[in-house]
Symmetry: C2
Subunit: 340 residues, 2 copies
């Protein structure tokens, strides 16, 4: 099969790779209908994370089940399925508490490289969720978004305790941040501040339900949020970047007793304990337990009530993955969808 | 009046100070029935916090109202009252959300020095809570505990989402940690791990409802908690120390999706963002909004259902405050009560 491999920072190649096979009786092999490039793929692409050798890339996927292992009982060949970047048994105590991304048997599905034609998914019964029927082509982008960026933005909103009547700020205008805006809207937020300085992203944020766009960053961004909230700060702040600056901006934008939901993969972040202590903020986040939200998100997508697929503003054949990375790196695209 | 003043690390003196007077029409002056030495008083006493000049000490207080300002309407002279270390209006949006220690008008009551005969309490109507009638001498220690250490331990338990059926670990065996054990028990925890290596504190923790005592610290303490929880960690962990080691011990003792409630005043703490991200822990804490809990705590104390006053294992006349500090510094006493 063909698949994208990162050889060094900036060096993505689509090349021949071995077809994946069933390795464990709980595995499934799926034929990908679509995959995509994640903001977190840019960390190694930009050399901020080490690239230790040729690395198959991609961890977001939707597709049709091709084959299942002998112990797989609920997932069947022919089903259109969605899964998350972490495989989970969905039965352990941690999964039952809703933290499938910390499942005691979790495996990183992305190790197999989802920017490809085929993908091995471990723990298929626990990991994959089938759509009610075949997925129409036009729904594929939205269903693909559910695999990570929608599920992650949704978790950010849930971790930030977004709910009816709440004032919400979203730090980060990548696909996760934009879909956190959508999640906040769906969860009933009264006011949603999208922090962005890019016109196309601002527009999508507004389309997804943002009530205000804030172009200021850092201390100026915090000051603007305070100004718009009687000096108190937002009830709920979703952090969708993962840098020191964005985390501090999120914490400082939160009112005492408010909640920060952080889903940007942390890189080089250290939180000052004293400031955190006196902030009275709640902090929660981490790799999103997307699996918790998939059944609900699939329902919202197939019923047409949400359209998270709009975050894909560039669609390319898998063979052109390198251009897809470049476009995101240069901020020419919010998110690139790849068609095998 | 007489009052305790810290002149330099280790140098506490009880000396003549000016009687406090009504400065704002919302003030009250109370005649203290008892005061005490707090674990947090030991930070400057030990020189870990700077002592910039002679500092009146003490921020925990119960007593009888002597005089009120012209704008005070609900608090009356003659009432026996308890307040918290932060004065609060108890009417602003932050107070109404239960974060009186972050009230937009908050003032630090301890600035007046509660280890004394008299104390000025700002925002008296919002800050003070009167007992149903005069307080019997034997209830004074428990009511005094409600002013800070009980309210703080209680907030730690609430911030850690302690509830029925939960497994709880408490890091720290000072008065706050011990009363966090009591709070966890009252809030319905099923299993309570008290982390302590001091015999007298272990005994009090067991009396307050701890089901297990863990003498190991740091990585060994974390390993022990994991061993006792099927490798998962505790549901709720209360951090009642405030150091880097204790915070990391708390975070690492928490299962994915579990809650850390941190109430030890943070000193020199920096939290590693990546580890926090992958821990999936919830974090919440800060200076306890004791005022939120006072009416409930007073009811539990006056009805005899809890006895938090047991944390005072040394009672001295105010004049002997220096010995009270020494005894706590040298861990000869858990907590010193001072009688003016």
């Amino acid at each position: 099969m063909r698949g994208a491999v990162l050889h060094a920072p900036g060096d993505i190649r689509v090349e021949d790779r071995d077809d994946p096979t069933i390795e464990q009786p709980t595995d499934a092999i799926i034929r990908l209908s679509a995959s995509c490039v994640c903001g977190s793929d840019l960390w190694p692409y930009r050399g901020i994370e080490d690239v230790t050798g040729p690395t198959p890339m991609g961890h977001e996927y939707v597709g049709i089940v091709e084959e299942v292992g002998s112990a797989v009982t609920t997932i069947k060949p022919g089903q259109f399925v969605i899964g998350s970047f972490f495989a989970s048994d969905n039965t352990c105590e941690i999964c039952r508490a809703g933290y499938q991304s910390a499942c005691i048997h979790r495996e990183y599905v992305g190790a197999g490289g989802a920017q490809a034609e085929l993908l091995r998914v471990p723990l298929a019964d626990g990991t994959l969720v089938a759509t009610p029927g075949p997925a129409s082509d036009e729904l594929v982008p939205s269903l693909l978004a559910a695999s990570d960026v929608l599920g992650t933005g949704w978790f950010g909103a849930v971790a930030a305790e977004v709910g009816p009547g709440k004032t919400v700020a979203v730090v980060g205008d990548g696909a996760v941040g934009l879909l956190a805006v959508l999640a906040a809207k769906e969860l009933g937020a009264e006011r949603i501040f999208a922090m962005s300085r890019y016109e196309s992203r601002q527009q999508l944020a507004l389309a997804y339900g943002a009530t205000d766009v804030i172009a200021e960053r850092g201390a100026d961004g915090v000051a603007m949020i305070k100004e718009l909230t009687d000096g108190l700060g937002a009830d709920s702040v979703i952090e969708a970047v993962g840098t020191q600056d964005s985390m501090m901006q999120a914490i400082r934008s939160t009112r005492p007793g408010g909640h920060v939901g952080y889903v940007g993969v942390a890189h080089g972040v250290t939180l000052p304990g004293e400031e955190l202590f006196y902030s009275h903020a709640h902090l929660h986040g981490g790799p999103a337990p997307v699996r918790r939200f998939l059944p609900d998100l699939i329902k919202r997508i197939t019923s047409g009530s949400i359209d998270p697929g709009k975050v894909f503003d560039l669609t390319l054949p898998l063979e052109d993955a390198a251009e897809g990375y470049r476009a995101m790196d240069e901020r020419r695209a919010i998110k690139t969808l790849l068609r095998p």
